[in-house]
């Protein structure tokens, strides 16, 4: 079925066009408020058919009491913001109650595959040449032991040229023992303290289509959290990719890659376990990018009301929390956030922060937020779409190939939306780096398949360039000089 997305409204901030997709995120929420019902909402933005246009995949929930699953959906981008629902043809409807997704070419065949995270485990879908996906979970030997996973990240942990897999596991949940929790006398979702934490999982790619669970020997499995999201980057500059994990109402993890398949949890040593005020927060979505253009990957994550959205500047051997100095503490204090992404929405050469906001347990709806990077270490608050909804996932991606980052967002029990960038900013470059991190001018961008909450982006890396007309591009140590702007560079 081909359809035109209905144009619903014009938002603020320079006529961002808000458009609606025929995808409803079904939570299966009942009066008893089962915990999983507040957790869905991931998004994958990836070019599954290699036509140069970014496609969209949405995991979905459904009934939590034995009823029907709401199908996951794959939308093929036809250009000009037209999309085609190709879920059935692709075989991606799924069977579990699903939350998150990670897109990556695990078998190096040039086609992007999907890892879907669900209430009862993970499913790996291999992208076939005919546009369909094959469920290869069993053949791949990926087994999350039935744990509830909310997100995942593909990354090459051992620099052997293929993608390994980090899976973010949340808590142990059993509908038979779900307790009733009351807030102001009314049933509400229970606080995470009532659930047992779970260890995350790490799977090494064997290079032959199968994986080995290395959670235990890597050290990852020694740490139980209530994982919400992961961000991958070489934080310490040693050439190996590390993993940062937010946890719900408990200390965050920073798994530094020591090489040889071993990781060391170093969040306290690096000053990112908890905000420096000492108050533990509900870590939600996370993103990693270099927001201050100093060449090192920084971190931002979302949290709940009065916790602020902590922002950390990478100093090379530790992080400095700059939530207050950047004014994010004041700007975000009254907000609750889920999905988050560094994205240069106005192409001025400084990565902004966008947040999909809403309360967690209380059901408080909130609008989206755009924190504009002033380039002096400070942020200002802009309005994108003032409609309050129970937002969850957000991914920034150039869906119409006009050089500006559009936004895809999900919200509980609501249709997914696209916010089309009016594209009135500066020049740009996109680099199809195929997983390598890229420097353009003085900007650096991490290629990370995990972004924000439960979501994934696996497309060209975008750089806003302001008034520059040419820029040097560095990909994997190779420098291309004086590349003219406003094009996509393919190495």
């Amino acid at each position: 079925m081909i359809f035109l997305i209905a144009v619903l409204a014009f938002a603020l901030a320079g006529s961002w066009t808000v458009q609606q997709l025929p995808f409803t995120l079904v939570t299966g929420e009942t009066v008893k408020k089962p915990l999983p019902a507040t957790m869905p909402g991931g998004i994958a933005v990836f070019d599954y058919d290699g036509d140069g246009k970014l496609d969209l995949f949405f995991p979905n929930g459904g009934s939590l009491s034995g009823g029907k699953k709401a199908p996951n959906r794959l939308f093929r981008n036809l250009g000009n913001m037209k999309f085609e629902d190709v879920t059935d043809r692709a075989g991606l409807g799924g069977k579990d109650y699903d939350f998150g997704v990670a897109a990556g070419d695990y078998d190096n065949d040039g086609r992007l595959d999907l890892l879907v995270c669900g209430l009862h485990g993970i499913r790996l879908y291999r992208n076939q040449p005919d546009g369909s996906f094959a469920d290869v979970t069993e053949q791949s030997k990926l087994n999350n032991l039935g744990r509830w996973s909310v997100g995942a990240a593909w990354f090459d942990m051992d620099n052997d040229g293929d993608l390994d897999l980090f899976v973010v596991n949340y808590v142990r949940w059993d509908p038979a023992t779900e307790r009733e929790c009351l807030v102001d006398g009314k049933p509400d979702f229970c606080h995470p303290r009532y659930y047992d934490a779970q260890p995350n999982a790490l799977f090494r790619n064997n290079g032959d289509g199968t994986f080995t669970d290395v959670s235990k020997e890597s050290g990852i499995g020694d740490y139980k959290g209530k994982g919400m999201a992961a961000a991958v980057a070489d934080f310490d500059g040693d050439g190996r990719l590390d993993v940062f994990v937010t946890n719900d109402r408990s200390f965050a993890f920073l798994f530094r890659n020591l090489g040889g398949g071993r990781f060391k949890e170093s969040a306290f040593d690096w000053g990112v376990a908890v905000p420096q005020n000492g108050n533990p927060v509900s870590g939600m979505g996370v993103d990693v990018q270099d927001f201050d253009n100093d060449g090192k990957p920084d971190l931002v994550y979302t949290a709940l009301r009065d916790e602020t959205f902590p922002l950390y500047r990478n100093l090379g051997r530790e992080f400095a929390e700059v939530t207050t100095a950047s004014r994010l503490s004041v700007l975000s204090r009254a907000m609750a956030g889920w999905g988050v992404a560094f994205a240069d929405l106005d192409n001025d050469g400084w990565k902004d922060i966008v947040v999909a906001r809403s309360g967690a347990l209380t059901g408080r709806k909130e609008p989206l937020s755009w924190f504009r990077n002033s380039g002096d270490g400070k942020f200002t608050s802009e309005t994108l779409d003032s409609t309050p909804r129970m937002h969850r996932g957000i991914v920034a991606a150039d869906l119409d190939n006009d050089g500006c980052l559009d936004l895809v967002v999900t919200a509980l029990n609501a249709e997914a939306r696209i916010l089309r960038n009016p594209c009135k900013g500066g020049n740009w470059l996109k680099v199809d780096s195929r997983g390598a991190s890229v420097r353009v001018g003085n900007q650096w961008r991490q290629a990370s398949t995990a972004v924000g909450y439960a979501s994934s982006y696996a497309g060209p890396l975008h750089f806003g360039l302001g008034r520059a007309t040419v820029a040097d591009v560095e990909i994997g140590g190779r420098v291309i000089k004086n590349v003219p702007v406003n094009q996509t560079v393919k190495p």
Partner: protein
């Protein structure tokens, strides 16, 4: 207030009324208990008995009598007020809310609103308490309730409005300073928090604000003092030690933080 209630209670026996007026509540109780037993179909005797018990501080017994009366006369606003007050006296603020809300519909007087706000506050429903206190025209108390509800923008408006009257009140300066810290940032909060150092938790906020402003050495004594009341302050204290070169102290305090806070997760 009781006098007003006496006026409402037209059927007080002369003896019982005399005893109540003279503060002989045990005697009044005896008289009204007898009357109530003699004429169980006349609910005013239960009300009068409840009044006597309430006046004698026998709140649980008074509640029983008021309950019986209200079954017969459900719209008796003053008795709902007394019922709410008795529940507050019995440390049951959440249960008091319903009665006091009915009393508010009867008469939104300052006393009713103040009691209702106490009930909401006691039930940790600070946001509702704040709204009631605003209706009662108690901006200082309403500001505190908004602050307790973490509604800092609303709190600040009210704090701003009354700040001149509380310039030397450390409790006010703590709540105001903490609010400004969250709404405007550390620098603006500092002058207020510095006026509140006699309050331990204010020293915690002051220490955090100083750390935010990269004034770790100044933050240390405040955090060291306040940490006994708030284990979360161990982390900023550790950061301050580290920033001032006290590496071993930083490690020790951070380990203590992880031990104490980790156990809560």
């Amino acid at each position: 207030m009781l006098i007003a209630l006496f006026l409402l209670a037209q059927d007080l026996s002369q003896q019982g009324a005399q005893a109540m007026r003279e503060g002989r509540f045990a005697e009044a109780e005896r008289i009204y208990r007898q009357k109530a037993a003699e004429a169980p179909s006349e609910p005013q005797w239960q009300m009068n008995l409840g009044l006597a018990l309430h006046s004698a501080g026998k709140y649980a017994e008074a509640l029983r009598e008021f309950g019986r009366y209200l079954k017969a006369v459900p719209q008796a606003g003053p008795i709902h007020l007394l019922t709410g007050i008795d529940q507050l006296k019995l440390a049951a603020p959440c249960r008091a809310i319903g009665s006091l809300e009915i009393a508010r519909r009867w008469q939104a007087s300052k006393q009713v609103l103040t009691e209702l706000a106490d009930a909401y506050s006691g039930c940790n429903r600070y946001s509702e308490a704040a709204k009631v206190l605003e209706a009662a025209k108690e901006p200082r108390l309403a500001a505190r309730a908004h602050w307790q509800a973490r509604e800092y923008d609303s709190a600040k408006l009210l704090f701003d409005a009354v700040s001149a009257a509380y310039a030397n009140d450390p409790a006010f300066q703590y709540e105001y300073g903490d609010t400004i810290y969250r709404v405007e940032g550390a620098e603006a909060a500092l002058p207020h928090l510095q006026l509140a150092v006699s309050i331990l938790s204010a020293r915690g906020s002051l220490g955090r604000a100083l750390l935010d402003l990269d004034r770790a050495a100044e933050a240390i004594p405040h955090l060291e003092a306040a940490v006994q009341a708030d284990s979360a302050l161990l982390l900023p204290l550790s950061r301050c030690y580290k920033a001032t070169g006290r590496v071993e102290d930083a490690a020790r305090v951070e380990a203590e933080y992880r031990k104490r806070l980790g156990a809560l997760q």
